[in-house]
């Protein structure tokens, strides 16, 4: 075999998982090393043991479990609204844009500007306008996620090929048949990718809203722990939210991989 021969095969799933575990263990090891050698103070970074203990408390104590439940409810509500409304509007925009490309460009430019604008600066205005309750946090939480969904679904719809459309026409597919047999499968993967990104944005949005306009939820817990110098609780709560995000992200990746088997 030539020494110039090289493999272009993607790393296997096992490799990837082992690599991810090694990275996590290395970070925990570094954390352990920094705290045991007193390179950082306990105020800056609490020991691994006490932090994990705080995380465990969050997941077992009823008052903190309530915070977790509030956050999860808000996340689910925001995510469902962002998904349903975002995909619906995105598909409409993409299909409409096939005939009116100018309108599509203008709408997408507006959405792009909205996405680039930090929503945080509008939080006080939002509170003044609509108050500070459950739905306000949901609305704030979904604001970025829904824009990503609209833009991605629109792009996915727009790229459903002309060949596929002619093929469907030649088989005299009804609109419903075209939607389910051609349009949705063709757009599905980009939409699932967008769902994953949208989920991350929704988590960030909800956490931020909870920090500033709430008295419950994981964002509120993180904010409280931060202001009261409860560093083990602070890091513990962050770990719980991060774990939630990683689990959801991995779930989407698994779905994406399983659905996208046909991809080259």
């Amino acid at each position: 075999m030539s020494r110039y021969t090289h493999s272009t095969t993607a790393p296997s799933r096992t490799y990837t998982v082992v690599f991810q575990i090694v990275v996590v263990l290395a970070l925990v090891g570094l954390w352990y090393l920094l705290t045991t050698t007193k390179a950082v103070t306990a105020d800056q970074l609490p020991p691994v043991g006490s932090t994990l203990s705080s995380a465990k408390d969050i997941l077992t104590q009823s008052n903190t479990l309530h915070d977790l439940a509030v956050s999860i409810y808000e996340l689910i509500s925001a995510f469902i609204i962002a998904t349903v409304v975002g995909i619906g509007l995105g598909f409409l925009l993409g299909e409409y844009g096939r005939h009116r490309a100018g309108v599509k460009r203008v709408v997408e430019a507006g959405l792009g500007t909205a996405l680039a604008t930090p929503k945080f600066i509008f939080l006080p205005v939002l509170v003044l306008l609509i108050g500070a309750g459950y739905w306000e946090k949901v609305i704030y939480g979904l604001s970025d996620g829904i824009i990503i969904m609209i833009l991605s679904a629109s792009a996915a719809a727009y790229t459903v090929g002309e060949n596929e459309r002619i093929l469907a026409k030649s088989y005299k597919m009804s609109k419903i048949q075209f939607f389910w047999k051609v349009f949705v499968p063709s757009a599905l993967l980009p939409v699932i990718e967008a769902l994953r990104i949208s989920m991350v944005l929704v988590i960030s949005g909800v956490m931020l809203a909870e920090m500033y306009i709430s008295n419950a939820g994981m964002g509120f817990l993180i904010f409280q722990a931060g202001t009261q110098d409860e560093v083990p609780w602070l890091i513990g709560a962050i770990l719980v939210v991060a774990a939630l995000a990683i689990v959801l992200n991995s779930a989407f990746q698994i779905v994406e991989k399983s659905i996208g088997r046909w991809r080259p």
Partner: protein, 308 residues
Amino acid sequence: MTQSINKFSMKASAEPNAINPTSADLTGHDGTVDVRGLTVCYTDSRKQKHTVLQDVSFNVPSGTFATVIGPSGSGKSTLLKILGGLHPAEAGETVIGGRLITEPNPDLVTIVFQDSSLLPWRTVIRNVALPLETAGVNRLEREERAQKVLELVGLGDCIHKYPRELSGGMKQRVAIARGLVVEPSVLLMDEPFAALDEQSRYEMGEELLKLWDRLKSTVIFVTHNLSEAVFLADKVIVLEGRPATVGQTVDVNFSRPRDLGLMVSPEFHVVRDQLYTSLKRDRIRSSGTYSWSQESPGPNGELLKGDR
């Protein structure tokens, strides 16, 4: 007998997605293609109207393998789209098996596209079964029929593969299988082997002929390759001029079954060169300036002078 079959055809056309459920119903379909005075125009982005096809008329008897040749942009693919009911004509009419074609009739006419147009998220068998699925044929039956036709095109062992796992030739075979699964009376093929290398192209042509010998559907095959056109056809329809019309139809009477050996015979070259000369003359007439020089003679070394 013919009358009763036509009655059935008319009944099927009244139901938009009706694909005949069994092969027994299909084998007797009349695949005669009758094109009368077709004129096709398109409007460009500056709202100017251009005529692509002008008064195109021809007849292809049922069970005939016809090829359509013509220069690039002569409207060959447009003609096929009209025959498939995908494109309206400005004037004239297309009648297939006694039915006036104004919309797609997937039970009567199917199209194999140039780029295979397989749905990448569907396995081979599910791609082939798509027309049956659209027509509401139950899963068991459609998979059985798809499997049968895939075996016919030599892909019986690839049914669970995805298009990305297939070569260009295999993809086209799947596309042909998808066209044949409804057992249509007429199969329209739009340069299906254009993306293949020359050797694969002729081998696929040979395989297509074997398949056609068994099925005997009417085939209308668009190509810009003269050798391919002559090798495959009973009848070659030549589109000439701008806007294009039928310049001539050439009957190709070589015996069947044919193999690739035919392509090196002198008789084959006579027919091929007849078409070549015809297209060349048309090109000269169209451009008004073209002439062959001694350095680039025609297929038989002849020298043609263009009209100046």
